[in-house]
């Protein structure tokens, strides 16, 4: 007597780490990786004109000190458009906190970016005199972002029945890079113009990113829901990270750290170079314009570099009836296995190049008085698979000679509306500062989709003449 069990059909249908969702569940998991480190958009910092760290956002910015040394500081931010803990969670009848998938999806945009960046600035050293300035600094930076189409979440959490007869793109684009940056900069003032540039030498520590990112699924409505899956998708990994399970080596998909020593990675073959350029233009004593383009460059990943590719069009029509009948164990779980095989990646050990997520800052600043100024900012950045602009206005007030308070109101594509605050205190040669681009997130993180903080300390000596 043959006993037919349908239990394994769950394997094909239910969300989990099985079946065709495995790969994309894995990619979605990167979201959580990205939430570990933090790094900034630095909306507020760009407007803190009396702070050396503004030079990291525009190499043409000069400070009023001849010599600057910055102690280790950190700038961190994370965010996602529209999603906050409170607006995606509910309390169910059992009193448990749950995420209701449909509510979550209702809040998603057509494209959704989750990002988290961290700059750990080891030191800054700058010297300026007359009309020029030179600097050197080091930082370890982590950029993480993932942009996924709403349809991917809909497919995973609501199923594909809603897309009958449609071809939907489900390819996420992501980047998770950690690298070390040595920067040498200079700035020269000429009349009302100041020009600056930085040359950055990069050493890649780890990278896990998507390359080509095309993946679509079509569910045939005219027949019995045959699936057509098309992919031209590559996943890169290098440095300290290694991915297993993607190329059908039998294991579960997982990200592991390699045996590579961190120093080897830092000074190894993952080299890159990048530029920052900037300029300021002082129209008159009250009105100043500035603009900068940062992180124009790339890293060539060679050390432990692997490229996983899935390329082709596959049609899944179902199981063969005779095979199913003849099978001792009629197992619809084969469907999941087959779909998983369709998305199988092939591995190639080859180098690849990733561009830095370039950014631009365009500001205007107007001094109402010596102690009060306002400004505006247009900031753009290129996250993986997404162009992410932000506009902001700000105001800053000097309270005496040693304390500056500022605030800013911004609206970004990936951050929404945010109110920021910043402060800097000068105690002799010591300058302390703190800035956040979204003040409410600091004390109410569950209702905010965007958080940012920057903290640091500088030593400044010798006041420069105007």
């Amino acid at each position: 007597m043959k006993i037919i069990t349908f239990n394994k059909i769950k394997k094909a249908c239910l969300p989990g780490n099985q079946g065709f969702q495995k790969k994309y569940g894995f990619v979605l998991g990167l979201v959580f990786i990205g939430m570990i480190p933090l790094r900034a958009q630095d909306i507020g910092l760009s407007m803190m004109t009396n702070l050396w760290q503004t030079n990291t956002l525009n190499p043409a910015k000069m400070t009023d000190r001849k010599f600057i040394f910055s102690f280790p500081g950190i700038s961190a931010s994370m965010g996602t458009a529209a999603l906050t803990y409170n607006n995606i969670t509910s309390t169910n009848a059992e009193g448990k906190t749950v995420i209701i998938a449909s509510d979550l999806i209702d809040r998603l945009n057509k494209k959704n970016t989750v990002w988290a960046n961290t700059d750990f600035e080891t030191f800054h050293l700058a010297f300026g005199k007359d009309r020029w300035q030179v600097s050197v600094n080091h930082a370890v930076k982590t950029n993480n972002s993932i942009t996924f189409p709403k349809e991917l979440a809909q497919l995973a959490l609501q199923g594909n029945a809603q897309f009958l007869g449609q071809t939907v793109n489900i390819a996420p684009e992501f980047n998770a890079s950690t690298y070390s940056e040595w920067a040498v900069g200079t700035a020269i003032n000429y009349d009302r113009f100041t020009f600056g540039a930085k040359l950055k030498f990069l050493g890649g520590l780890s990278n896990f990113s998507s390359g080509n990112a095309v993946a679509s699924i079509h569910t045939n409505d005219a027949s019995v829901y045959e699936l057509t899956l098309a992919s031209d998708y590559t996943i890169n990994s290098a440095g300290l990270l290694d991915v297993t399970g993607l190329d059908g080596d039998g294991g579960e998909v997982a990200i592991n750290t390699t045996d590579m020593d961190g120093l080897d990675a830092l000074f190894g073959q993952n080299k890159g170079i990048a530029f920052d350029i900037g300029a300021t233009f002082r129209l008159h004593d009250k009105l100043t314009f500035s603009g900068s383009i940062l992180d124009i460059g790339s890293i060539n990943w060679k050390e432990n570099a692997k490229v996983y590719s899935s390329n082709g069009t596959y049609e899944y029509k179902g199981l063969d009836l005779l095979n199913l009948i003849e099978s001792e164990d009629a197992d619809f779980g084969q469907i999941a296995d087959t779909l998983s095989e369709i998305f199988q990646f092939t591995k190639a050990e080859q180098s690849y190049r990733t561009a830095l997520a370039w950014r631009t800052y365009w500001t205007v600043s107007y001094k109402f008085s010596e102690k009060f100024r306002v400004g505006g900012l247009i900031h753009t950045r290129r996250l993986k698979g997404n162009f992410d602009p932000t506009v902001a206005i700000n105001a800053a007030l000097d309270l005496g000679r040693w304390w500056t308070l500022g605030t800013n109101l911004s609206h970004g594509k990936s951050t929404g509306f945010a109110i920021g605050a910043n402060t800097a205190i000068r105690l002799g040669p010591v300058q302390l500062f703190f800035a956040t681009d979204n003040l409410p997130a600091l004390f109410n993180v569950v209702n905010n989709s965007y958080a940012h903080a920057r903290l640091g300390m500088n030593l400044g000596f010798g006041k420069r003449e105007d």
Binding site: P15, T97, G159, Y225, K317
Partner: protein, 504 residues
């Protein structure tokens, strides 16, 4: 100090957020309501595929001249050998009271022997003599010939000094001799002379025995003789699927094959031929073959050592085989008998020790006819569906190139055989029989789409069920009224997809 004042409000602001971070860890689950559309089955299966997947006992599956699928069941039947019909040649005495005698020969009862070719045996002589001298004796069997010469024995009887004297000669091998008889008699004569003067003498008695005679060939006139053969069974699993209902095969055949190497006229009769189905119902053969039998071909005298093939074919015209197969038998029990020279013909026939009649039976069942059958099969089930599956909607698309359709119904039962639910409200047609042309071949595949809704209540019933009762009805075109022909290349395309509603 100032630094402390600066940091204090910052820490104060951040602390609540840190506490809130703890609550993020308290997310217990993601509640999902999803509908997954999946293709489950996509298969095009031909009759040939099904046959290859089956474990039929059919010895041969082929097609006839118009391509119709044909099932052949064949087995070797009983045989009859010369040894079973004719006993070995018994030892027999002979006596030559005078110098010449005619000895009657009746080796095979009921056979007027004409020629006996010997491949073994001896003649043992016993001689009684009262002449007190040495005697030369020559004994001649003029009917026992080898190489054109009669069987002749020459001996010298040495006087032993007493009278009468008895002499037992060493047995003489008669291998290779032919015994050619006239009127079933053979002539034996002897010549005895004294060694001393060569004068002729008459001995007291000359005789002996033919012992252990074995033959290579016997010819003569065989009188009528009946014999029977063992009962045998041919199994047929073609109808083992357990379907009941009307079945009418258009042109089945049952062939009985005979291979006869007896040089005799033999009439074979079918004394028993009964088809029995799994329920014990049976139908027996009737028709002229049951009474009259039929004459087997036999080799002629100039064809010694060969055999002749004869086939008795039972078909719809000469028997009730259609009626017999209509009961969907799973075995055929048959027995035959035979009669040698049934017409008491005086012609000369022959046998050899290797002569025999072998039989075989072959049922040939072309897939040509009509049927309208149904079956009920109960099977233990364990759907074991995950709790998360809340409902399902199946879409079944069949494109049937076969000239028979199918209706199904599935009942879900508990341990007490109480019906908890059924898959359909009524029995549902899932295959529409393809229409056929005048010859019974399908014209075009017939598509059919069947939507199967399995709401939550039915899923509950399925989960609680322990058994599933499947009712399946199959019928050829026009509801089993039109004869159809099934060919190996007829195909059935089955596509099954499902929308599974999941809540987790």
């Amino acid at each position: 100090m100032v630094l402390r004042w600066l940091l204090l409000p910052i820490v104060a602001m951040i602390l609540p957020s840190c506490n809130q971070l703890d609550s993020i860890n308290s997310i217990d689950n993601i509640e999902i309501q999803a509908d997954y559309a999946l293709p489950l089955i996509n298969s095009t299966t031909t009759i040939q595929d099904l046959l290859e997947a089956s474990e039929t006992e059919a010895t041969l599956i082929d097609t006839n001249s118009d391509g119709t699928l044909t099932f052949n069941y064949q087995s070797v039947g009983p045989d009859v050998t010369a040894g079973q019909l004719f006993a070995n040649i018994p030892d027999f005495p002979f006596a030559v009271p005078n110098q010449r005698a005619t000895v009657p020969v009746e080796i095979f009862p009921g056979v007027k022997l004409e020629t006996l070719k010997l491949r073994g045996g001896t003649i043992n002589f016993q001689i009684h003599n009262s002449v007190p001298e040495d005697i030369n004796i020559q004994i001649i069997f003029s009917n026992l010939i080898k190489n054109g010469q009669p069987f002749t024995v020459t001996e010298q009887l040495i006087n032993q000094g007493q009278t009468p004297q008895e002499f037992l000669l060493t047995p003489i091998d008669i291998t290779g001799y032919d015994l050619n008889l006239d009127n079933e008699e053979m002539t034996v004569e002897y010549v005895a002379t004294k060694v001393s003067d060569g004068s002729s003498v008459t001995l007291d008695a000359v005789g002996g025995w033919g012992r252990d005679w074995q033959y290579d060939f016997v010819s003569g006139n065989f009188t009528a003789k009946q014999f029977s053969m063992e009962e045998d069974t041919l199994s047929i699993d073609l109808f083992d699927l357990g379907f009941d209902g009307a079945l009418s095969l258009a042109d089945p055949q049952l062939s009985l094959d005979f291979e006869n190497s007896f040089g005799l006229a033999i009439r074979a009769r079918i004394t028993k031929l009964t088809m029995i189905n799994t329920e014990g119902a049976s139908v027996s053969l009737n028709g002229r073959f049951a009474q009259e039998g039929f004459l087997l071909d036999a080799p002629g005298l100039n064809e010694v050592g060969t055999s002749r093939h004869s086939t008795l074919t039972l078909n719809k015209d000469n028997s009730n085989i259609v009626e017999m197969l209509a009961i969907q038998p799973h075995k055929i029990i048959y027995q035959m008998s035979g009669e040698i020279n049934p017409d008491n013909d005086s012609a000369i026939s022959f046998i050899q020790p290797t002569s025999k009649v072998t039989t075989s039976i072959r049922a040939t069942v072309p897939a040509h006819g009509t049927f309208k059958m149904q079956t009920e099969q109960e099977t233990a089930i364990d759907f074991g569906q995950p709790d998360q599956l809340k409902s399902a909607s199946f879409k079944l698309i069949t494109t049937n190139g076969m000239p028979f359709g199918a209706q199904v119904q599935f009942y879900f039962l508990n341990d007490n055989n109480t019906v908890l639910d059924s898959l359909f409200k009524n029995q549902e047609m899932i295959l529409t029989a393809a229409s056929v042309d005048a010859d019974g071949f399908p014209i075009n595949p017939t598509p059919l789409t069947t939507e199967i809704e399995v709401p939550a209540s039915r899923l509950t019933a399925m989960n609680e069920s322990k058994k599933m009762l499947m009712k399946i009805s199959l019928a050829t075109s026009d509801d089993g009224q039109t004869p159809v022909k099934i060919t190996p290349d007829q195909a059935l395309s089955v596509k099954l997809g499902a929308i599974l509603s999941i809540e987790e």
